[in-house]
Amino acid sequence: MDIDICIVAFSQSACLAQAGAANEVELIMPELEAVYRQVGISNAQDVDFVCSGSCDYLQGAAFAFVSGVDALGAVPPIQESHVEMDAAWALYEAVLKIRMGHAESALVYGFSKSSPGELPIVLSQQLDPYYLAPQWIDSISLAALQARLMLDRGIIELSDMAAVVASSRRCAIENKKAQLSGQFSVSDLLKEPEYVSPLRRADCSPISDGASAMIICTKSKAEEWNVPFARLVGIDHRIETHNLGMRDLTTSHSTRLVAEALSIHSDSLDIAELYAPFSHQQLILEKSLELRPETDINPSGGVLAGNLMMASGLSRVGEVFDRIVDGKASRGLAHATSGPCLQHNLLAILERG
């Protein structure tokens, strides 16, 4: 692609176990205001395109995204779209819009109010509606089946999973937006009781309410705005079969396909933010991406420290962006996922401007 696309602003709310009374609009507005402030614009009128990601079933209301439009100041009307997916895919749609020359800048946001429902059970209704959904097998149990396969085959050990959690909690100490953080040793974590065996509660990302927002634009627009930026040098995604029995759940075929398509050059990644809702899934991703020990993985703590369903993928991109503009990294990888047991995966590569 000829057009250089840059990320110029990112903001994420705190990950809250319960956002209390705040509705979608009230969750989104502070993050929008924050990204407007970062680039010095006043509202969505000042960008060419807006795209959001959300899921009606999280809060149990059809057309949740329609209320989201109330946060934008969409008078006069704006160029706007929505994906019923994580906002990382809204970012993808926005990138296509810029690449085709229909926009120079775009606002992307995702919001999540998962606390009103029973998220793992809500997600059971993503499965095929004849064989699996009627069994109400929740997302945690499916992940547990996946972890067991890995343990049984000796690919990982329970202590490897606990080490992922310990690292997440430790990194999250520095992350004011995190829901869970602290110093935990692997042995402490393994002393905790099993939850859905072999998973312990700490192996599962918490349920969080919140929102995140991002502004992207062409390089010339970023220069016009005169703001620090990170270049989004690649973004791509792949899905795989819905039949869990047909997949090798111990690896991520689709992640590998994206990594190949993007030529991620894992040897030159300073950081990687991976959307692994369960500790063992981070290990799957690290391996599928062939990450090196030099790469700092989930410096934000990742989603084990707070998981804004439908916004977490976008937030991974944002966390990499933040570290690039802060000078802590010059090249980073962000990952987003959708579906049970990492069925659908997106990768984005960011580089210093």
């Binding site: 995204f65 439009v69 792949r238 899905i239």
Partner: protein, 387 residues
Amino acid sequence: MGELAAVVGIGQTKYASRRGDVSIAGLVREAAGNALEDADLGFKDIDAVVIGKAPDMFEGVVMPEIYLTDALGANGKPMLRVHTAGSVGGSTALVAASHVQSGTFRRVLTVTFEKQSESNAMWALSSPQPFSVHLNAGAGGYFAPIIREYIRRSNAPSDIGIMVAVKDRLHGARNPLSHLNLPNISHQEVEDSMMLWDPIRFLEACPSSDGACAMIIANEELVSESPKPPAWILGGAMRSEPTIYAGRDEVNPRAGRDCAKEVYAQAGISNPRRQFDCAEVYVPFSWYEPMWLENLGFADQGEGWRLTLDGATSLDEGGDIPWNCSGGVLSSNPIGASGMIRFAEAARQVRGDADQHQVENAQLALGHAYGGGAQFFSMWVVGARKP
């Protein structure tokens, strides 16, 4: 406008109140398979899949694209799910087109569907949340007051809605895929049908259908690999505005006017009535034909109904600007697909492939969709000639 792209394959299902013979996967596959066949291609020729539908609550499957990957041949490919309310069929087509126009992909499959028989649309649309008034008796209850205001403003004769209802059903009777097949429908029959949401009668409202619509969109280089004439995408635009704001013109929404203005600018349209050979416009309640004729600039303010009255929008009456030759949303309405059907039927016209509802020598056509409280719009212009 980005790189050139064209529709090289179109596939639809038979629309019906209940497609009891297929699963959800079988329904979308029927449309996708028909589109591939029309384009003389296989799934291996497709680089990415873009799927759209209205709220997941219609079928009670959360993010159904996750389960539909195998049916749509998406494994190992990018798959994107769009949801922009009732306009989703149109916006999905535009997002699919952007996959090609951005130069990112060479050829994509796009599919939209709704299997409304799995639930009850009225329930799904007015699912009772606490703390809110539940007087939204379906979409008709929402749009009826807006139609009433249009009638007041325009002084339109009270039977314009009936005329549209008859005309679109006569168009639909030419289309073997139509859900409603009413070749003998009469003015009297529509007038005598039950008044549901005054001024909307039963036969002035769209049906509730099962169905899916699919298209293959290719870049310039690959257009020649499919045997039938392409429909070149000459323009595409989307606009959104809030459901409610002070001073909002709900009858003639600014988002619709602005969206039309942009898509016309892209496609070089200055006089839509004269330049277009036909249009497929989202008319779920009959009165929306005159309202959109004005909103889209085919007629002056308050004059849209005159085109309907004069038969200008009727294929059977030899009108100069036939609207909804396929029968429109009034003949088939699988909500999530309804917008894409408009886009696809516009493309069929300029490909000269619309069989019994073909407008002779159609060169330029408009596809239109709207959703929410008439606040989300998507439109495209397709043409027979390569720009």
